[in-house]
């Protein structure tokens, strides 16, 4: 094919062992682009929204985008799509690294896994050779051990996506890890893979990807890269400091939740766990994914002490969850906990937030010490690391924490203290101090999540324009645009971080020249809106709870900082947001909207 896609979908039935190669559905590819969009479209066409996420009817789909693996900037992404066992929503988890491009080089836009195997298996792909192989010898191994073993077995040039014991044993926030350290991390998609007894996918490809207008495509790609290079964030800041550079500025506006949000959102020791400190003390070098000029990844090392270790990260979100949210100012402990999450393939945002919730419940006497096995107080770095390890390994109280904060807090009588939306933990920004991000959490189609419409960009960072974080005016309409653009960006297969330095014209331009389209920027953006509405349609049919925030954000005034006295004004923003979306007052897409988007 000459349009960015490679034209074939693998369909693997894990129960029967059947492997089919079927042509890509061109109409769906045109309307839903790829990756998050196209994967969700395949999923919605084939699966019952009411299905048990951990049952045989929940399919697992790996999907790339038309730009994945091409010369487009930062085009190393793929999405893993299934119904999320953590939230019950559609769960699309996005990952970088090199796995997605390699899948396309082997000749496949995506893989659909059906049913469950009766024994551990992995999928071996070497161009046209595709086999399900026994993985009994890999079962129980962690991500690093599994990756090393498969590189030994298949070849060192294979790219590996896999789960660890956390995914095998039902941790509800287990992710799928590829290239050892890159994660399709949120929503527990790794647990879906574990139930299917699918340990890994190992892929190697030698084919090419062709685009519709090669010369023009190369030109727009180079223009986009130049734009990123010239921008202070994508050209310098992110590679120098990584995402942890956000610690001080988010804390500066009083928007970094402390102690599960109980103690407000100003952390006195923020600088100890900042990007500046990480760079000065622990950075070995930065690291980029496939085709990326930004290079925000961190290769880091704790050289001595109780947390002596080496790995990648942490990202800002993990730095916050293990740091300020647990009141830990020991960057070594924060890094160690994050490294463990990579090694065992679990989501560090949910992990840290669940520990913070457990700490609050423990301190108020709601969780007895005998249940945990040791004191679990805010500020106790050793206890935080131990709690992380127990969850990674599914040991003792770690089994309960492995259900996420909502189910844990519910078990102990205080679900309201789970800082989650639709049972997924909110990341590192307090919706009381930053109004628009609160609306974003509430309306995210996969529960508490910051990368579905990153309102921090205008509200804190001033990109592409500065908006006052304390006010609600203008936020609903802008959030809708951000959500649609993000859905489009994710669907093409490029990294969301490119949007700090470029926008719709560049994304739409690369897409058009790759697939051979003459659609306008607005028509391309409409595909993002279609994806958003499809996800919402699924969630409505699945019976997912309404859009709201934890009571703490709606009723407990911030006790300190620049936003002192504030709560999130969700009720004001939500009505305007639904109107901007063309939905009814309950947040249900109307027939007119669905018809306009060709969704019914």
């Amino acid at each position: 094919m000459n349009n960015g896609y490679v034209g074939t979908i693998l369909r693997v039935n894990l129960k029967t062992g059947t492997i089919l190669k079927e042509p890509l559905n061109d109409k769906n590819a045109d309307e839903y682009v790829g990756a998050r969009g196209l994967g969700t479209k395949y999923y919605c066409d084939e699966c019952d929204p009411k299905c048990d996420p951990l049952g045989p009817d929940n399919k697992l789909i790996f999907m790339t985008g038309p730009l994945t693996g091409t010369a487009a900037t930062s085009a190393g992404r793929y999405n893993a799509v299934a119904k999320s066992p953590l939230t019950g929503t559609i769960g699309a988890a996005n990952s970088g690294g090199h796995f997605g491009p390699e899948l396309k080089y082997a000749g496949y836009d995506g893989i659909i896994f059906e049913d469950v195997s009766d024994h551990p298996v992995y999928l071996y792909i070497s161009d046209d050779t595709v086999e399900l192989r026994d993985a009994t010898h890999l079962w129980g191994k962690d991500v690093f051990e599994t990756t090393d073993a498969l590189n030994e077995e298949c070849g060192s040039n294979f790219r590996i996506a896999c789960i660890s014991a956390a995914g095998e044993t039902g941790c509800l926030f287990a992710g799928i890890m590829n290239d050892k350290h890159r994660a399709a991390g949120r929503g527990g998609i790794g647990a879906v893979m574990g139930v299917k007894k699918l340990k890994a996918v190992a892929v190697k490809g030698t084919k090419s990807i062709f685009v519709a207008h090669p010369e023009k495509f190369f030109e727009v790609c180079m223009d986009a890269r130049a734009k990123l290079k010239a921008h202070p964030v994508t050209g310098a800041g992110l590679s120098a400091y990584g995402t942890m550079i956000l610690v001080n500025i988010v804390n500066g506006v009083g928007g970094m939740p402390v102690a599960n949000g109980r103690d407000g959102a100003c952390y006195a020791d923020a600088d100890d766990i900042s990007g500046e400190s990480l760079t000065a003390k622990h950075l070995i070098r930065n690291k980029g994914c496939f085709g990326c000029s930004i290079g925000c990844g961190r290769l880091t090392e704790i050289k001595s002490g109780p947390y002596k270790s080496q790995g990648e990260g942490p990202e800002y979100e993990a730095g916050w969850s293990f740091g300020a949210d647990c009141k830990i100012n020991d960057l070594g402990a924060v890094c160690d906990a994050n490294f463990m999450c990579n090694q065992y393939g679990i989501d560090p945002i949910t992990m840290g937030s669940t520990i913070a919730c457990a700490m609050e419940l423990y301190e108020m006497g709601a969780i007895p010490e005998e249940d945990i096995g040791f004191p679990l107080r805010f500020g106790d770095a050793a206890a935080m690391v131990k709690a992380t390890e127990m969850t990674c390994k599914g040991e003792g109280f770690g089994k309960i924490m492995g259900l996420g904060s909502y189910r844990m807090a519910e078990k102990y009588g205080h679900p309201e203290l789970s800082m989650s939306v639709k049972k997924q933990e909110m990341p590192a920004y307090d919706g009381r101090a930053i109004q628009g991000i609160g609306l974003e959490y509430a309306t995210s189609n996969r529960g508490g999540c910051h990368v579905r419409g990153y309102m921090i960009s205008p509200e804190v960072l001033g990109i592409p324009l500065a908006m006052d974080p304390l006010v609600t005016e203008g936020k609903p309409a802008l959030l809708k645009t951000f959500q649609d653009l993000t859905a489009l960006c994710d669907a093409t297969g490029i990294c969301l971080f490119t949007t700090f330095g470029m926008g719709l014209p560049e994304i739409a331009g690369m897409y058009r020249e790759a697939v051979g389209s003459d659609e306008s920027d607005e028509e391309v953006l409409l595909k993002g809106e279609r994806i958003w509405n499809l996800e919402k349609q699924f969630n409505v049919a699945a019976g997912v709870e309404k859009d709201t925030l934890p009571p703490r954000l709606l009723r407990e005034k911030l006790p300190n900082g620049p936003a002192e006295g504030k709560v999130n004004e969700l009720h004001t923003m939500l009505k305007e947001y639904y109107a901007a979306r063309g939905w009814d007052e309950e947040g249900i897409p109307t027939k007119e909207k669905l018809t306009a988007l060709k969704l019914n």
Binding site: P232, Y241, N248, G252, V253, E276, E315, G462, L496
Partner: protein, 93 residues
Amino acid sequence: MTVKFFAYLRDPDYAGCREITWPGCADVLQLGRELSTRFGQKFHDEFFAEGETELGERVIVMVNGRRVEFLSGIHTPLRDADLIQIFPVVAGG
């Protein structure tokens, strides 16, 4: 007042420190000028747009946690008890 610097603004080419205590300035404009006198041209060019009519495109200045764009811009008045935070443009997530 306390003035804090972040990211590369802590490098020797710019402020060369994390934090300083600075004697009273009437407003952000005066503070920027005085800090530029102390830290040099490179700091000045980062802090100000040409002509010192507004902040430079690559800098974020907060007074007590509020971006000056939402106060009175470069003419935001300052008091001795204020915390001023100066960041380069950053992003992540």
